[in-house]
Each structure stands twice: as C-alpha cells, then as structure tokens.
Symmetry: C2
Subunit: 397 residues, 2 copies
C-alpha cells in the first residue's frame, strides 16, 4: 500500500529527535529546570539583528511580488552573485553567481548533490566517522552505497590510512564535515593537504575524478582564532554544501547552497545535473524572502562568542569531574567518551538523571556520546553536579 523503506525511515525516528521529544515530555513532568537536554543542535543564540531588520525592510519597502515570487530554480541571480562576491573577498574563491545553486538548507544540498553524482548502484560514497547520520539516508535515496572510514579517535582528524584503504574504483565521492558534527574537531590545513594529495593520487590511479563533498554548515562556528579554510584550495574537485542554519541561527528557514566551482572536472555538467536533481525532488526554488535576507547578512554571524564560553564551561566542567574528551575547536558539540566504553548504557544512565545526550553509534563511532552545548549556559551550570552523579556511577571503572 505504501513504500516500506519510506515507512521505516519515517517510523525509525532519528535517535536525536526521539531524545529531544522525550526531553519535552520530561520537562512537562518534572519541570523544565530539571531536564538537561543536550540532544539537539538547534542554535540557541538569536539571529543577528541584520536578519530581523532586513525582514522588516523587505516587508515594508519592497513590492510583495518582488520578494515572494518564484526565483529561477538555482536562485535569485542577484543573491547568487552577492554570495559569490563574498566568497571571493573572503577566500579568493574565483567564483561567480553561476557557480551557486541556492537550496533549502544543508540537508537539501546533500540530498541534491548526491542524487546528481550517483549514477549507478555500485557508486560508493565514503563517509568519515564520526559522521552526520542523515548521510546514510541521502546516499540510500540517491541509490548509492555508503562506505565508512573508521574514526581517528586520537584527535578526530581524518584517518588517512583508513581513507586510502576505503577508496576503490567505485568511489564517486568522499564527504567531509569540518567543523565536525559530532566531534567538534576542525580539520587542519595539514589534514586537508594530505586529503587532497590522496584524492589526486587515487583519481589518477582509477582514471576518474573522485569528488570531495565538503559539508560546511558550521564553517563560521570556529574558536581560538583558527583560520576558516577554503577546501577547494586543497583539492580542486570539491563541491561545497553550505547552510545559513548555524551561522545566522536560521535552521527553520531552510536556506543554503551548493557551490560547484569552475575548477571541478565537468563543472557545468555537474551543475546541470544538480538542477535536474533538485527539480526531480520538487525543490522549485529556495525560499525567496530568506534568499534576500542572507544576501543582506553576508559576512555576519550570530554571536558565536556565546558558544565559545559554553564550550569552555562544559569542557572544563566535565573534564574536571573526570570525563574524557578531545577539546573541540568548532561547531557546538562535545564528544565524550563513555567511561566504560558502552555509550548506549551511558546514554541510558544519563537519561535516568534527566541528562539527554546522544550515543555515537549512529555517527559510526561507538563508545562516545555527543553533547550539544548550543544551550542556555545556566543549564550547563545546573547540569554539572548531575554529571558528577553520573560519573560516580562509574567509580568502579
């Protein structure tokens, strides 16, 4: 009567969403102040003022038809050029508006580029653990095969030996995500250089380009003055999937883009396939008003400093208790080791104390739990004594 794969996808909520919903229910029962929900990556910082100001200006000063009408499928030409200008100023990217396809956010960007690239059931897409679990869903939807490279749990950079072993003649693309969800790690220039070298080498070996899909919704959520790197500088066959969800705190508005630079092999053909892919899934255009809003806010971000102080608060709070984790340099996640190595039990134990954290299994990294710290700093402070109780359950370890 219906497609069972789609039913299963709808029924098996993501573990993250399920925890988030549980948290809402618990809050109703035991009081909001007694639930410590670190489950979801929903930005807690308000959008910068430029967002509300531009919304009001557009609504008050522009003709409704000019701000709410269809845009061409790849986006409003002025918006696309404006984004290109910003990328050129920031990264010497050498792009024009024609390289940009505006999307309904990073998930749409990924679903669309994967459907555009994957041509056969044998096509393999390599993901690097820990990875965003929805990659699996989008690769499956596009008819390809997911190949997972095990995590480098030392620093949560890329495992080059793992990658080198995973690449075959069927490899169509490699997905990276830096700053990384869930580890908070930021790939260094050294990592990206080695990655570029490997992909050039393997492309030559197999006689076809291996594309790099750089999933960058956290690009500007980066700390300690680390430089924001432009991935295509390290490897020319790079396609960027971007979203304004995190940088401008607009996750519900669904606006982002796919950038296919000219240097990519078959750039125009791939861009055309992107247009076809978006069309086939019913993406008519990215929301028009918010295309204009993000244009007015290029180079602006929400106040990332708040995440930075949250980061320090929770990292030092937890490691002082005794928990182990790598100090994150970006995004708003801490990836904590389960004291006895059993992350699912760790999650369950935490849940009994109304601390909601996500086991790393879905991210391809068992033994760790993800803590989203895009939350009220007061909740972090209140949670620390409860985390201490949690840690004490493991005193025998």
């Amino acid at each position: 009567m219906y497609d069972t794969t789609m039913y299963a996808l709808g029924a098996k909520r993501s573990a993250i969403r399920a925890l988030f919903d549980y948290g809402q229910e618990q809050a109703a029962k035991v009081g909001k102040e007694n639930v410590f929900d670190f489950s979801i990556g929903n930005p807690s910082i308000p959008a910068p003022n430029c967002v509300q100001d531009e919304i009001v200006r557009l609504a008050r000063e522009e003709a409704p038809a000019a701000i709410h009408g269809y845009t061409p499928a790849p986006g409003d030409p002025v918006v696309r050029q404006g984004v290109a200008d910003y990328m050129n100023q920031t990264f010497q990217a050498n792009v024009t508006g024609n390289n940009f396809y505006m999307t309904c956010g990073a998930s749409a960007s990924l679903a669309i580029i994967l459907r555009a690239l994957i041509a056969e059931n044998e096509d393999e897409i390599i993901v690097n653990a820990p990875f965003f679990p929805e990659y699996r869903v989008f690769i499956q939807n596009a008819g390809g095969r997911l190949v997972m490279v095990p995590p480098d749990t030392e620093q949560f950079q890329l495992s080059m030996t793992g990658l080198a072993e995973a690449i075959t003649s069927h490899t169509k693309a490699v997905i990276i995500n830096t700053p990384n969800n869930p580890s908070g790690s930021v790939y260094s220039a050294d990592t990206l250089m080695k990655l570029g070298e490997l992909l050039r080498c393997k492309s030559a070996e197999f006689g076809h380009p291996i594309f790099l899909i750089s999933d960058e919704p956290y690009r500007e959520v980066i700390y300690d003055g680390l430089p924001v790197l432009y991935v295509p500088e390290f490897y020319k066959n790079t396609v960027i999937c971007y979203s304004y969800s995190k940088s401008l705190s607009l996750p519900g508005e669904r606006v982002g883009y796919i950038l296919v630079p000219n240097e990519v092999d078959g750039s125009r053909e791939i861009f055309t396939a992107v247009c076809g892919s978006g069309r086939s899934m019913g993406f008519v255009c990215a929301p028009h008003l918010f295309q204009k809003v993000i244009l007015a806010c290029q180079g602006k971000t929400a106040n990332i400093g708040i995440y930075d102080s949250n980061r320090k608060l929770i990292y030092h709070g937890l490691t002082d208790i005794g928990f182990q984790c790598v100090y994150p340099s970006g995004a708003f996640y801490l990836f904590v080791k389960a004291p006895d190595g059993d992350a699912n039990q760790f999650m369950e134990n935490a849940k009994k104390l109304n601390i909601l954290i996500v086991p790393g299994d879905e991210f391809g990294c068992p033994g760790y739990c993800r803590i989203s710290y895009c939350v009220d700093p007061d909740m972090i402070r209140r949670s620390l004594p409860v985390f201490k109780q949690l840690y004490e359950l493991y005193s025998h370890v």
Copy 2:
C-alpha cells in the same frame, strides 16, 4: 561522472521556463511593452496585507529563536492544528493537526507523497490530460510508471471511460488537479461523484485501495460563485496536496501541505511513509516563519477578483477575434485551440509577434496552447490587436 537522467532533467528546461526566459531577453531587445508574456503562472496580484503585517509583527515581537528555529519535521504543531481548524470550519473535514504534514509547496507535496506511495517499479500512477508536466518528473523520481488518460476536450472534465480503461491491478493512485492547470476547468460535483464511484468499484475489483491524490494549489482561485468542493467527501481514500503559492501569492516562499485524513486506508502508515519520504529527500521542515504567516492568513486570499476580470477580458477578447476555447471557471489559465490544430506552430507564430504561450503537448493535450492571464490587464489589452494579427495568419483555415 554524474547521473545522466539528472543531467537531462536539468538540461531540458521545461518549455514554460524556456519561454519565460526568452520573454525576458526579448523585453530587453524590443521593449517590455512590446512583449506579451503569457507563459508562466507566477501570481501577478500582491500577497494580501495580512502577509506583510504578520511578517513584520513576527520579526518585531517574537524571539528570533521561536520563529526561525527548527520545527518538527511535519511542521509546527500550532500551525498544523490551526490549518486543521480552518479545514473543519470550511469543509467539516474532521481532521486534526496530526493529519497534516507541512511542505515546501505543492511540488514538494507531490514528490513526497508519490515517493511514499510507490513501492514497486510496476506501480502505476494515472494522470488525466491535460496535466501539469512535472507530474512526470516526480513519478519518475519515485520509481513508478505514468499512465495518461486522454483529455475530454469537450468540457475538460474527466474522461470516465478513459479512466476506467486506464486502471489496472498495478494502479496505485490517480492524480487530479482542480481547478485545472492548464485548462482552467473546475471539476463538478457530478464529475467527482462519478470518479469516487469508479475508484470504489475498481478498488473492490482489484482488492486494494486506489488512492486519489488531489493536487489543489488553485483551490481558492475559482469564479462565478462556484462552490469549493472538498474532494475526500466524494472518495475517502483521498490525499490532498496543497500550496499557498497561488491563494496567498507566495510562490517563492515554498509553503504548503500534505493532508492524509483518518478515513484513508492505512492513514497513519501512509503519514509515516510521508515523513520518511520527506526525510529521504532532505526536507527537514517547511520554512518556519512562513508556516506562522500562513497560520495568521487562514481563509484569506490575494484579490482573486483581479484574475476574474482578466479572465473575462482575455476570454471575450480572444473569442471575439475568433479563437476557440472553453470558458474557464478557475485557476488563471485559458486553454486555446490552435486554429489549424498544430499547437507548436501556433506557439511559434505567436512568438514571432512576441506573444508567448505554451503548447499543450507537454500537458498531454496537443492542439491547444495555454495562456496564463495572471498578468497586468494592460498587457492583455495591448495584446488583443496582436492576437488579431495572429488569428489572421490562419484566415485560410
């Protein structure tokens, strides 16, 4: 290197989009006032005031996180319940918010429901000519087979004999679109009654439900005081795909819904498959701000009276010249017979006079051209003498 089906979809622009772009180019060459662009269904009437007022109110009075954050995948619960309340008041629909899945517009609604329903390559989806050409794309994306019922060119109602012949044991669903793009016809209660009877009969014959997908973006764009009918009243296994693009003149904002009433066989399972289908294509949620905006504008529409006067102006203008067409009762299209039956040549002849109209071939109805009259009435007036020139080319017919 990329998927050739997606490339072809991206490269073969829809005929409508191609004409629209040609019109923009011609306007730059010969002056905007000398191009008569009737190619595209881009609402020409501004959104009603409630839209801009609610946008400004939300931006000024609500916390940014509350209006721009993620909503649950099926939509903001308050919005869904508000839409349900409106449907109950208007149609005694007997629905709740749980029957609604908010989408990024009607195309997304269709792509998602088709992917949710189609389980095998043998599954057939019946479309009734003339039909919206993107149905073909969405059915193909979902892995099903399109079966076309030839048009009833007398009144552009449904061809019941054609439908009866088209339904087989593989029929998964029938798509209808009333008010109809491109014919402007509105299916009568009598048509819907016969359709319901046929589908009940055939469902019983083949021992499984045949679903009815009612594609209703033009629901409120209806004239002459005709009643707006609630299709599930005529056939219980009806799923509604709706969009606010036309009723509120918000085509670029991408907001609509899928309604799966409780009476549908396997209602909750289908709803779950809809959630999975949306997830698989990267639809995280419908744009949040505009979910709230349409909630505030339930029951409101743009000033449809302007389309009505356009309708009379162009219908009488063209039929006085000698053109033949059925008087439309809804939507904003006129479906005109090519005087000699060759719609492609008719379109080409018109194009030479800078009149842009869309041949019916793509809609499964050769011999007719679609004229979108969601345009400036002055353009209609200026175009009439040029239409007369066009008609005179056929004086020998």
